[in-house]
Amino acid sequence: MQPGGREQVAWFVPVTVGEVLAGFFVLDLNNTMLRWSSFQRREGTLSGCPDAGDWLSESQIIARATAAGAPGAPGKPYLSYDAAPDRIAWAVPFGARLVYVTGATSWISAEPT
């Protein structure tokens, strides 16, 4: 994970089951576990877990970012966060603007980069 300044801050370790993202670990740069987070609402079902491609496929992330309607062409996505490290999101540069993508949701950053 790299915020806007592109300094590495943590490791995002996805856990996929088939085509969905079941959850993820976040480790700090010394490999200390910060958290394990699951999209599963209850044990034994993956209902509601996001499409893994929305989190892990660069082309899909760019497509989601483009849907937010920012002007210009998309740059290379990087995994980052919106305002706080717990708010993990893909950041896609569109000129001076960032578009954040989390799964199927995308939005244009309030502040220019």
Binding site: L34, S37, F39, R41, A84, D86, I88, A104
Partner: protein
């Protein structure tokens, strides 16, 4: 020979080592010591080649040809460095034998003698005059240890070469060892206190009670419908935030849901003054207290709410034990907490863990359940507690 350095540290660490060896003996993990014995008070200080005290070597009384090495420097990572059997530790005799290996002039000029871990754990006798080395003789081979050799970077030491354990310890290893040393001292101090270990004596420990002490104890609780955890599974529901800035609204919605106040998130956001879904805004820092107000007002004043400005793990735990969820603010974000886990190991504090079960409304329109968030790695800014007002 200098045997007086850090006498307090020696006294403490010798008791901790007696404690650890007693435990290892009770567990059958060896090395076995005679439990009627104790570590001798007469310890020999062994220095690193850089001149810093490294460890003490002391005989185990009533146990022939046995000695124990006790850390004098925390970079060794544990108060117990090593236990050796099969060789008597007779420092005065060793010094005399080493002296005989010296040229007569060198032997006569020396005014100080030290034991030095010239290539840890190999030990030599160092002869000094006015603080400067005259000669160094390896124990048992009685060979003169060569002068320092300037190795190439990343070249490991040779088999008969002086090098500093402390100076050449990688920084990462040093940090890990210092942390482990502090943890071991803390854990062993607690157990040595319980066992009333004094005067470097070993004690006979009942293995059954020992297992109880050593076993990491885990204490966990998640929200349930009632206080009887066995009657119902975890009773809390995740709400994803419906805009990228409505984390507070989603967190408040989760707590209100728990108390059966069924609001949609747009309504909660409106109460908090967070705009509309088409034009949303976040809660500014200056209005943190509005969270408590929203919980109170939207429960028709049935929930008494409190904002805590310096949250602790104990506060989270006490709320969960009372079967009450919390809203938890971290810098830049809000979530709800619905459980905790706590693992305590007196002897191995590195196993200790404090974790929170976090119902995180991020990412938008989804949310995640974090089981567990490492409490010691997060900054907690505010908590909002709510309890049913009793009349």
């Amino acid at each position: 020979m200098d045997t007086s350095a850090s006498a307090d540290d020696l006294a403490r660490n010798a008791n901790l080592v007696a404690c650890q060896l007693s435990i290892l003996t009770a567990l059958g993990a060896g090395p076995v010591v005679d439990l009627r014995a104790r570590i001798s008070k007469a310890a020999t200080l062994v220095y690193d080649i850089n001149g810093e005290p490294l460890f003490w070597r002391s005989v185990i009384e009533r146990t022939p040809d046995s000695y124990v090495d006790i850390a004098a420097h925390p970079a060794l990572g544990s108060p117990l460095v090593a236990v050796s059997h099969g060789l008597a530790w007779t420092p005065d005799a060793f010094v005399e034998q080493a002296r005989r290996a010296l040229p007569k002039r060198a032997a006569a000029s020396a005014d100080e003698v030290r034991f030095v871990a010239y290539s840890f754990p190999k030990v030599a006798v160092q002869f000094l005059k006015d603080g400067a080395e005259v000669a160094m003789v390896e124990l048992f081979t009685w060979s003169l240890v060569p002068e320092r050799y300037d190795r190439a970077k990343d070249e490991p030491p040779g088999n008969f070469e002086r090098w500093s354990y402390l100076d050449e310890q990688p920084a990462r290893r040093r940090r890990a060892n210092l942390r482990r040393y502090a943890e071991r001292v803390e854990g062993l101090t607690e157990i040595a206190g319980r066992l009333e270990i004094r005067d470097r004596r070993f004690v006979d420990i009942d293995a059954t009670s020992l297992f109880d002490w050593l076993r990491p104890r885990t204490d966990s609780r998640e929200l349930h419908y009632s206080g009887r955890a066995g009657d119902h599974s975890t009773c809390y529901e995740l709400r994803g935030q419906e805009t990228n800035v409505w984390c507070v609204a989603a967190s408040v919605q989760m707590v209100l849901d728990f108390y059966r106040y069924d609001y949609d998130q747009t309504r909660v956001a409106s109460q908090l003054g967070l705009g509309t879904k088409a034009n949303p805004s976040g809660l500014p820092y200056t209005r943190d207290g509005d969270t408590a107000t929203a919980l109170h007002v939207m429960s028709n004043n049935s929930l008494t709410t409190v904002m805590n400005t310096s949250p602790t793990f104990a506060q989270y735990r006490s709320e969960i034990l009372a079967n009450r969820p919390l809203v938890s603010f971290v810098p830049g974000h809000s979530r709800s907490v619905a459980g905790y886990t706590r693992t305590i190991s007196p002897l191995f504090p590195s196993l200790n863990f404090n974790g929170l079960l976090v119902f995180d409304p991020w990412p938008p329109n989804a949310g995640v359940i974090t089981r567990w968030e490492n409490y010691d790695t997060q900054t907690y800014r505010r908590t909002f507690t709510a309890h049913v007002t009793l009349v």
